[in-house]
């Protein structure tokens, strides 16, 4: 916007920019603060004098070692991976199929189906978790890996449905028809024509679903037991009981993980939107 440069307007622009920078700081700074503190040699959550002087003595990998050597954290990571990967596989398969159906103009009752499929995402997770506790207990699924896999898959499918539907919105249905007219069966058509086009959406959706499971703690609290403790569950008790700098080391690891996921998804989305 071109603004004629009277003093007031410039002051307005400067304070506007300052405000925006402050909001960006509010968004980012809390996350970044954790990273240096996780290398603190002292068991405190504040910057020691040595850290501020950038004294290498004040930094150490001590908390990372603590976590790496801790059997409980290791088990939590294994659990998170088992549950996350299985839930993602389930959510991605079912979600992609459903998105293909939803994208078809012939789909009957589309708004209703969409509402149903999106509902796990908009329902407050405390309600989902409470309901799952009642129901999964009755089915003998509480305190099992399978129960959590099903729960996390249910929470993750809306992300897959939404991202895949979004990629399909730009998809030319004539391609499918062309493939069919060339004699390709539906499976071949899917593998050769549709899948390459929706692949970015599928991968983004899978990453979303995995991130959802990997960060989910409420259903784990409600339907998980000792053998289903995941990384977020372990962090939860760490934060509630004795918050130790080891938590910060795990947090730093999760931040790195989140950054990688985010960059991949953004990449895929740009590629999909051309």
């Amino acid at each position: 916007m071109t603004v004629s440069g009277s003093g007031w307007e410039r002051a307005g622009r400067v304070s506007y920019l300052a405000f925006c920078i402050a909001v960006f700081l509010f968004l980012i700074a809390p996350i970044l603060v954790i990273v240096p503190l996780s290398f603190n040699v002292e068991p405190y959550f504040t910057f020691t004098e040595g850290m501020l002087r950038l004294d290498p003595e004040a930094y150490s990998l001590r908390w990372y070692r603590t976590v790496a050597e801790d059997e409980e954290w290791r088990r939590a990571l294994v659990n998170s991976l088992i549950i996350g990967i299985a839930a993602t596989a389930l959510a991605t398969t079912l979600g992609t199929l459903a998105a293909l159906g939803l994208a078809s103009p012939a789909m009957p009752g589309r708004p209703l189906a969409m509402s149903l499929l999106i509902s796990p995402m908009v329902t407050p997770v405390i309600i989902s978790a409470a309901g799952m506790f009642f129901f999964y207990s009755k089915m003998g699924l509480a305190q099992t890996h399978l129960g959590l896999i099903l729960a996390h898959a249910a929470l993750g499918t809306p992300f897959v449905v939404i991202t895949v539907t979004a990629t399909l919105a730009g998809f030319d249905a004539n391609l499918t028809r062309a493939a069919a007219s060339l004699g390709a069966g539906p499976v071949r058509t899917f593998a050769r024509v549709q899948l390459p086009i929706i692949a970015p959406g599928v991968v983004s959706g899978a990453l979303f679903a995995f991130a959802t499971s990997f960060d989910e703690v409420v259903t784990v609290l409600f339907i998980g037991g000792l053998d289903q403790r995941t990384v977020p569950r372990q962090m939860w008790s760490g934060i509630r009981e004795e918050i130790s700098p080891a938590i910060l080391a795990v947090a730093t690891f999760l931040i790195a993980f989140a950054l990688i996921f985010m960059l991949v998804v953004e990449r895929l989305r740009r590629r999909a939107s051309g």
Binding site: V78, L81, I82, I85, A86, A89, F133, S137, K138, G140, A142, Q143, T144, H145, A191, L195, P196, A199, V203, G225, L226, D227, S237, R240, E241, E242
Partner: protein, 371 residues
């Protein structure tokens, strides 16, 4: 044709899922194979004391492995396990009211006191245990008490000495830590308000008495920081988050002795209680659990806990065995809640009153907190 590669990548990830699932399966079967008991307790320094005093000797004697888990009390997890038939916990440390409720609701296995080990002099267990410490499903472990402790460095002049001082913001300003529950806090409030110890539960039995307790709590409400896990109060005191806090006496003792923290315990108005241990109904390791409970019910086991943390045996024969702290050689007697000088100022917690009124009081308490 880069696009085809995506399809190829699906297969390895599906393979990974299969491998992980197999790993999970074989792993859970391993857990079933070895004979073990899962013992659930209060965590922190108390759990460490139990590990040293009971779990390790028990494993050495029987070869049965002990797995530990922490919790903050309550019956919810036990009920979930029993009702789903998916019992993962075997032996649980419980508060008295929960041990009775859990027994009434069929969540705990009855334990026959006749099978418990006699005292060192041959006295049958039923006579050797202090009254009420043996219930249908629960075996008493140790006496502990909820006291309040303060950080000596925060008070230069006079020091807090009575339960009334905890509520005296003028003489002793600063934040206080209290457990987020009405239990014990209502008793503290009434005692601080001048209700004689013997009248505390009779007073609480009337609506006016409950109002009075809440009014007393009102006077310090703004200054209270609430805690939930037993490990929190020593940490809050050390961090300077609070100047005084209610706490389990053993946790404060450990901070004093092992971490050299300048904490002082005020025994006046301590609320004395004892821990119960129970077996979760439907455990797959019933025999091992019974052996474990019987091992823990030995006088020597109880006395051994008292060499790591200041909790005293619930058996008469155990009193004579109270000795010194194993790591530092500190005499444990002055630190035990049941030492005559300390117990003279103790209120005995009335579990029956609480089993009747905990629902109502908890609700009233949360309404009060939210206001």
């Amino acid at each position: 044709m880069t696009k085809y590669r995506f399809k190829d990548r699906i297969t390895p990830s599906a393979g990974a899922v299969a491998i992980f699932s197999l790993a999970a399966l074989s792993w859970s079967q391993n857990a079933l194979g070895a004979e073990s008991v899962t013992a659930v307790s209060w965590g922190g320094s108390y759990a460490r004391a139990c590990t040293k005093a009971i779990h390790e000797p028990f494993t050495a004697e029987t070869g049965i492995e002990v797995r530990m888990e922490d919790y903050n009390g309550g019956l919810a997890q036990i009920r979930a396990q029993v009702e789903t038939g998916n019992v993962h916990w075997d032996v649980v440390d419980l508060e008295m009211a929960d041990a009775v409720l859990g027994c009434d609701e069929g969540l705990l296995e009855p334990i026959d006191a006749a099978h418990l080990p006699p005292g060192p002099d041959g006295t049958p267990a039923e006579e050797d245990f202090f009254p009420e410490t043996l219930t249908e499903c629960g075996i008493g472990v140790v006496y502990y008490s909820t006291i309040y402790a303060y950080n000596e460095e925060k008070f230069s002049g006079s020091k807090p000495a009575t339960i009334g001082d905890f509520f005296d913001l003028e003489k002793f300003p600063g934040r206080r830590g209290m457990r987020r529950t009405p239990v014990v806090n209502l008793e503290f409030a009434l005692m601080a308000d001048g209700v004689p110890m013997k009248q505390v539960y009779a007073t609480l039995d009337t609506p006016e008495g409950v109002d009075r307790a809440f009014r007393k709590l009102d006077t310090i409400k703004e200054q209270i920081i609430w805690w939930e896990a037993g490990a929190q109060p020593p940490q809050m005191l050390a961090d300077g988050e609070v100047v005084m806090s209610t706490a389990y006496n053993g946790r404060i003792f450990n901070a004093q002795i092992l971490e050299k923290q300048p904490f002082v315990v005020v025994w006046d108005g301590q609320v004395l209680d004892w821990g119960q241990t129970g077996i979760v109904a439907g455990t797959r390791n019933l025999e091992a659990a019974r052996k474990f409970v019987a091992f823990g019910a030995r006088t020597e086991s109880m006395a051994a806990i008292g060499r790591y943390i200041s909790y005293s045996p619930v058996r008469r024969s155990g009193t004579a065995l109270i000795s010194t702290h194993l790591e530092t050689g500190v005499d444990m007697k002055p630190h035990m809640p049941t030492t005559p000088a300390n117990v003279a100022r103790a209120l005995h917690s009335d579990w029956e009153w609480w089993s009747d009124h905990s629902d109502e009081m908890n609700e009233r308490f949360s309404a009060w907190l939210a206001r």
